[in-house]
């Protein structure tokens, strides 16, 4: 942690600088079209020619008309401050002044990011808990049964090549048909995505005790359950947490994916709505909210990890 602040700030500043510069060529065609509509003469005049011309060339030929590069409504690449404004408006401003904001209505506004992040968060957590629970159970099974290991493990790997994300809408419809609606279908997708890292990590963790640690148990004539409780599970804790960090991030992706087809709120719905109406800064704002949520979740797991390991005495 020590000594990262300076470099991180530097990198962020560099990214922002590059971003602002990139806005010009990225948005140049829209900027020029808008300028042309306002009566400016741009070169080349024909929009079809402009489509086929290089962006840098357009920038160089029309340096006088680039003022709008950082303030376009439907920018191909919105400028950072546009996103910041959007973030501010959809969090603080909306809650303070919006018709449905917390000040005026007493509940979080569905036009604000906080409300949607909350929806996503709960689906994520629910899915994560389900996925982690099942993952641990399967890992325990795999470690104790050779049959289970040999049968299930290869297919668990193959299952990861199935583009579950692409199937999300179908899964949701299928779950509809068995009467599951609302948060649960999203949680199922979340669980599916977080399940695999947990299985892999826990199998590794439950197997991490070395032969002499197992032999020690054997010399005590310890039962399988005693070995599990007193040796395998404690030994697997560091592995578990490493997997949980991957798992919770995957879970978040799952929840967001699950929100795309069912437009009933959540950051996923928000992103799609942004895309649907060409509100690029809305997509970006939702994206950043999602990344921040992910960072928060991973950090929480990390904090839990530190606390647990300290309680266990493992530094």
């Amino acid at each position: 942690m020590k000594g990262t602040l300076g470099p991180v700030l530097t990198v962020i500043l560099a990214i922002l600088a590059i971003w602002y510069v990139a806005c010009v060529p990225m948005n140049v065609r829209e900027v020029l079209s808008a300028a042309e509509r306002d009566g400016a003469v741009v070169t080349p005049t024909d929009p079809v020619e402009r489509r086929d011309a290089g962006a840098v060339g357009l920038v160089l030929n029309n340096t006088a008309h680039l003022g709008a590069s950082w303030s376009l409504d439907r920018a191909k690449l919105p400028a950072p401050h546009q996103i910041a404004v959007e973030l501010w408006n959809t969090t603080v401003v909306e809650e303070m002044t919006g018709r449905r904001g917390i000040v005026n209505s007493g509940s979080l506004s569905n036009r604000g990011l906080v409300y949607h992040a909350g929806i996503t968060l709960w689906a994520t957590v629910l899915g994560f808990v389900i996925g982690t629970g099942l993952g641990i159970l399967l890992a325990v099974g795999i470690v104790h049964s050779r049959t289970m290991e040999m049968s299930v493990m290869p297919w668990a790997i193959v299952s990861q090549t199935i583009p579950i994300v692409a199937l999300a809408p179908m899964i949701i419809v299928v779950l509809y048909s068995v009467g599951l609606q609302g948060m649960l279908p999203k949680a199922v997708i979340s669980a599916y995505l977080s399940f695999f890292p947990v299985v892999v990590g826990m199998v590794k963790g439950l197997r991490s005790p070395d032969q002499s640690q197992l032999d020690l148990m054997h010399t005590y004539n310890a039962s399988k359950s005693a070995v599990l409780v007193k040796l395998r599970l404690p030994a697997s804790v560091p592995y578990l947490f490493a997997s949980l960090k991957i798992g919770i991030a995957a879970s978040l992706v799952g929840a967001i994916v699950g929100e795309l087809p069912v437009q009933q709120g959540g950051l996923g719905a928000r992103m799609l709505a942004g895309s649907y109406y060409g509100q690029t800064s809305q997509i970006w704002a939702a994206l950043i909210a999602a990344a921040a949520l992910a960072a928060l979740l991973v950090w929480s797991i990390g904090a839990l990890e530190r606390r647990t390991l300290r309680r266990m005495g493992v530094v």
């Binding site: 002499s212 640690q213 032999d215 020690l216 148990m217 054997h218 010399t219 005590y220 004539n221 310890a222 005693a226 007193k230 040796l231 404690p234 030994a235 804790v237 266990m312 005495g313 493992v314 530094v315």
Partner: protein, 259 residues
């Protein structure tokens, strides 16, 4: 043979591995009496660990007879007839020293009060009173090894099997622990099986030294030590000591040259 605690007759063990069978023990005959301190010495791979594991019921011989306290090793294991100390201390890092010593007691179902009492007693025995609440990594290597001995002593088995317990420690600490071990043995009158690589260690500690040689592992020499039971550290500079050490070294060298 009335007093034989451990008795092996024509013991044979072959491991089936991917590269074909490994003959780890061949025709091993040995009797260990109650109260003996027996060291096993031999080059790497000669089967010392394997033999100790057979006694502990952790490995099943493929031939011959082996009894521990008159039972099969597996029965003896289930009767918790012995404590086992591994090369590395092998304390569970998530348990305190006290928790580690309590581990076998929990598994064997001792009462809470009994557990606490025993932990206290063995910690004193190995000179670690006051370290109960510490975690293993807060202790030096030598202290950890003492804790692992305490763990093996906690449930008061008559036999103590130790597989290179001091292999990872430096010579000075090792000397010190050897002294302590002898005292402990004198106090508790346990039967001890002890694996080591070090000739001085074997000679210093044992009443009986078993020299082994590899491929296939077998016993080449059994030396009954004429040294007194009471042994100060500088007994190692005496001619008797040096003579035994010499005999052990020769036995080892002979085994080595064969291959």
């Amino acid at each position: 043979m009335t007093d034989a605690v451990i008795s092996a007759q024509h013991l044979d063990l072959t491991f089936q591995t991917g590269d074909g069978p490994v003959h780890a023990l061949r025709d091993v005959n040995l009797t260990i009496d109650k109260g003996d301190f027996v060291s096993f010495i031999g080059p790497s791979g000669c089967g010392k660990t394997t033999f100790l594991r057979c006694i502990a019921g952790l490995e099943t011989p493929t031939g011959g007879d082996l009894t521990v306290n008159g039972m099969t090793p597996d029965e003896a294991r289930k009767a918790r007839a012995y404590g086992y100390v591994f090369q590395a201390a092998g304390l569970y890092p998530w348990r305190t020293i006290g928790g580690n010593i309590r581990l076998p007691l929990e598994i064997m179902g001792f009462s809470k009060a009994d557990q606490a009492e025993r932990v206290k007693r063995v910690l004193e025995l190995v000179d670690l009173a006051g370290f109960e609440k510490k975690y293993p990594w807060q202790l030096s290597g030598g202290m950890q090894q003492r804790a692992s001995i305490a763990r093996a002593l906690a449930f008061d088995a008559d036999i103590l099997l130790m597989d290179e317990p001091f292999g990872a420690l430096d010579e000075i600490v090792r000397d010190h622990l050897n002294e302590e071990l002898l005292k402990l043995w004198a106090r508790t009158e346990k039967t001890i099986g002890f694996v080591t690589h070090s000739i001085p260690e074997a000679v210093y500690l044992s009443t009986k030294i078993v020299v082994m040689s590899p491929r296939p592992g077998r016993i080449t020499d059994v030396i009954d030590s004429p040294l007194p039971r009471e042994r100060p550290l500088d007994i190692r500079d005496t001619p008797e000591f040096i003579a035994i050490a010499h005999r052990v070294r020769e036995g080892l060298r002979a085994g080595h040259q064969e291959d």
